[in-house]
């Protein structure tokens, strides 16, 4: 065998060039992938010296995607070379790289030094690589941990997009019923309200509560990161959501619960969102058998019996410029923020696009 590196030629793909895109999408469709250019920031292809297409790889943000090698070249170093090429680029910008893959391919990525975070059979595994890892997050948790050994220690996970009376009620109730409450605020900035805004509004309203500890969600709490739906076109959307939720719950169980000695988790009932519903189902499956009591709190209403408080309704109202109809849903901090000029750009953003978040 000759020197491995000279066997291959790497080429970056011009995503605006339809011929390049066609080349890769044809290659990938033979392997069962559905290549969508909007789904990637960058793609590369690997040729051998006979100009045969051997493999390809892409990334979006800090998630590697569409890493595939043609079957007859799988014994060589092509796969390692593709991943090295991608990591070289991604690590410049991000400290932390993720891969979603099928559990069957887990071992291939592990062999390259990736670390498994969690697996939800039969669809997904998620792995990480980089300067930061789950240990850094656990160190952070240890640094904010309250030294309590007896009594109920509860966790509440919130996105608060935006913070409403419903959240406030749930958190305050948890604080009354437990020695310590760890409030995980989802850090990912895929919501209309930025993480720093969400964090600040909660802190203003609830910062005075003694046994409440606010925790940054990091990359492990509800890190819907970027849905790897592309290689699962045969599977139902609901199955994917269920597995995604399961990954999050497993990671929570495995890495967070033991550090903070959590033995209760509070959630609100879910009315409209199938994703959150799947999440709650996954919690019922995994939490109680592992010694974490799941406490479901019915949503509170405002005024009439059916008028449930929901952050979704608040965003809806902002979109339709009818903030006054939901003003009673909002605690002082959020109300003040939404009525002030500070939130002008956020309101404009919500109005300009129709998304669920």
């Amino acid at each position: 065998m000759s020197v491995e590196n000279t066997d291959f030629r790497e080429e970056s793909l011009d995503l605006k060039n339809p011929f390049d895109v066609k080349l890769v999408s044809e290659f990938l469709s033979n392997l069962g992938f559905d290549y969508i250019t909007d789904d990637v920031d960058y793609s590369m292809i690997l040729y051998n010296l006979n100009d045969e297409l051997i493999g390809t790889g892409s990334y979006k943000g800090r998630v590697l995607k569409y890493v595939a090698v043609a079957p007859k070249f799988r014994e060589g170093a092509a796969f390692a070379q593709i991943v090295t090429h991608l990591i070289d680029i991604v690590i410049q910008k991000h400290n932390h790289i993720f891969v979603y893959t099928k559990p069957a391919n887990l071992v291939v990525f592990k062999g390259l030094g990736f670390t498994e975070i969690a697996t939800a059979e039969p669809l997904f595994s998620v792995l990480e690589f980089g300067y930061e890892n789950i240990r850094s997050y656990q160190d952070y948790l240890r640094s904010i941990k309250r030294d309590v050994h007896v009594g109920h220690i509860a966790a509440v996970v919130v996105n608060c997009n935006p913070f409403t009376m419903g959240h406030k009620y749930l958190i305050e109730k948890a604080c009354r019923e437990n020695r310590v409450v760890y409030l995980f605020v989802v850090e990912e900035n895929r919501s209309s309200f930025s993480f720093s805004t969400r964090w600040r509004l909660i802190k203003e309203e609830l910062g005075h509560i003694d046994n409440l500890v606010m925790v940054k969600g990091g990359d492990y709490v509800v890190s819907g990161t970027i849905f790897p739906a592309y290689f699962l076109k045969k599977e139902k959307k609901s199955d994917i959501a269920a597995c995604q939720a399961e990954l999050d719950v497993i990671a929570f169980m495995r890495y967070i619960v033991p550090i903070l000695n959590i033995n209760r988790r509070y959630v609100g009932t879910e009315m409209y969102s199938p994703v959150t519903l799947a999440y709650n189902k996954a919690m019922i499956k995994h939490l109680p058998p592992n010694g974490v009591e799941l406490i479901v709190i019915p949503r509170i209403t405002c005024g009439s019996k059916d008028n449930y408080i929901s952050a979704y309704k608040v965003r809806q109202a902002i979109r339709e410029d009818k903030l006054d109809t939901v003003i009673d849903f909002l605690p002082t901090s959020t109300r003040r923020y939404l009525l002030s000029e500070d939130s002008a750009h956020v309101r404009a953003k919500i109005k300009s696009k129709v998304t669920r978040h």
């Binding site: 491995e4 390692a80 070379q81 991943v83 090295t84 990591i87 400290n95 030094g113 980089g130 300067y131």
Partner: protein
Amino acid sequence: MTPKFKAQAGTFESSDIMVLIEPVDEGTGRQVDLSSTVMLQFEEDIKATINQVLDAMNVGHVHLIAKDKGALTPTIKARVETAIKRSLGIQEGTL
């Protein structure tokens, strides 16, 4: 000397080692995170080699991550040295 930039050297290929350098605050000390396919047999040897290079280059405070796939000692030395030089901004002739 204290690394100034994030840097890396090496590949994921067999018989190579991927070395990542992350700058840390002065006074934090050395943190070497190693994973290897031959961890059981050579963990101590590889760590000793890495530390030897760090000593030689007088690097006291650094976070170094190494993903080894069975690299030989000279390879390890070369990769660590290159990664450190890149992180100091003194590597010439590559990149």
